[in-house]
Subunit: 199 residues, 2 copies
């Protein structure tokens, strides 16, 4: 049985939800709010005190990108995590962007605007301004981030861009990003996410 430590509105948790739903795997969610993440019990599950955490039998894995890499290698090797070295490198690039620029840019801004979190506002604005033109230009030329089908690069990078409106970023200014997030939401089996346009 797959247990996912999550909260309903976490974009990081939704990366894993998307993968599990698209794979057709059943899972159970363990609601894990800030109080739960502060407990000693949760520190043993994830010393970074973050969600999502994926637990299945003896396996306990943290970090949304890592969970996607695990699920891809186990269930869709090659297709979801890259055929050949060049695709593997290109997917790793977008996983880095998801872990850094997206997390510290649009996702941080959403945390502040939507949930009142204290963030490094200037840095979040600067990272967002530097990154959005780069992914917009890429998606203006490509339907998917890597290759000709959805990969874990799309799953890792899309949630906090789809939810950009909650960070006061208008996706009308970024049409290729907007189309791509709607393309992902239209995938058969896509799990609905509040705030994701087209979801």
């Amino acid at each position: 049985m797959i247990l996912l430590y999550a909260t309903p509105l976490s974009g990081n948790a939704h990366k894993v939800r998307m993968a599990l739903a698209l794979l057709g795997l059943p899972w159970t969610e363990q609601p894990t709010d800030a109080a739960a993440r502060g407990s000693d019990a949760f520190a043993a599950i994830n010393p970074m005190r973050q969600i999502p955490v994926y637990a299945e039998g003896a396996l306990c894995l943290r970090d949304s990108q890592a969970i996607l890499a695990y699920l891809a290698a186990r269930h869709r090797p090659g297709e979801w995590d890259g055929e050949g070295a060049e695709e593997r490198g290109a997917i790793a690039l977008w996983l880095s962007h998801a872990a850094n620029e997206i997390a510290n840019g649009p996702a941080a801004l959403r945390l502040a605007r939507r949930f009142g979190a204290a963030i490094a506002e200037d840095q979040a604005q600067a990272v967002t301004a530097r990154f959005l033109p780069v992914i917009e230009a890429h998606l203006a030329q490509h339907r998917w981030l890597v290759g000709d089908r959805m990969t874990i690069a799309d799953l890792a990078a899309s949630p906090y861009l789809a939810l950009a409106g909650e960070a006061d970023i208008d996706l009308a200014d970024w049409p290729a990003i907007g189309e791509w997030t709607r393309r992902i939401a239209a995938l058969p089996g896509f799990p609905a996410m509040p705030g994701w346009p087209g979801s």
Copy 2:
């Protein structure tokens, strides 16, 4: 011919240097300082305006984690990038930490202390304080971050921790991290890096 856009003191560039040297591959470096990164010519090579960039024939790849993933898949598949789904997930976890916590923690602090960069100081201190105990505890139990040999997880995570002294972080307080960075510096073929203890 492999061309690496780099600067001598970049820890991110050193990740790639380490991989190339350990693989025994020859490469040429294109010194790329801040002025060069601001040029239109460099924006076409990397729109994020960062080093390192790896260029070989028609391939042009940015992001140190992505370059490591490419080199591993091409030259040491399985050994350097993980055998099986669990190792693949575990390696992706440390690549995420390298892209986020290490880049925005110890690496950012080094940029400020060593090079006078303006950073989000409070966030860099907080990320560092949250992350160092996690990797210290892991390395107190394991010689390598994933499995029983060096992988790209070690290459991605080690430079800015080895150089922590330049960020005013005393590795005497983090003995397992310190031993691991010296273990990496002792690998046959390891390329010297100014400031890396034992290098």
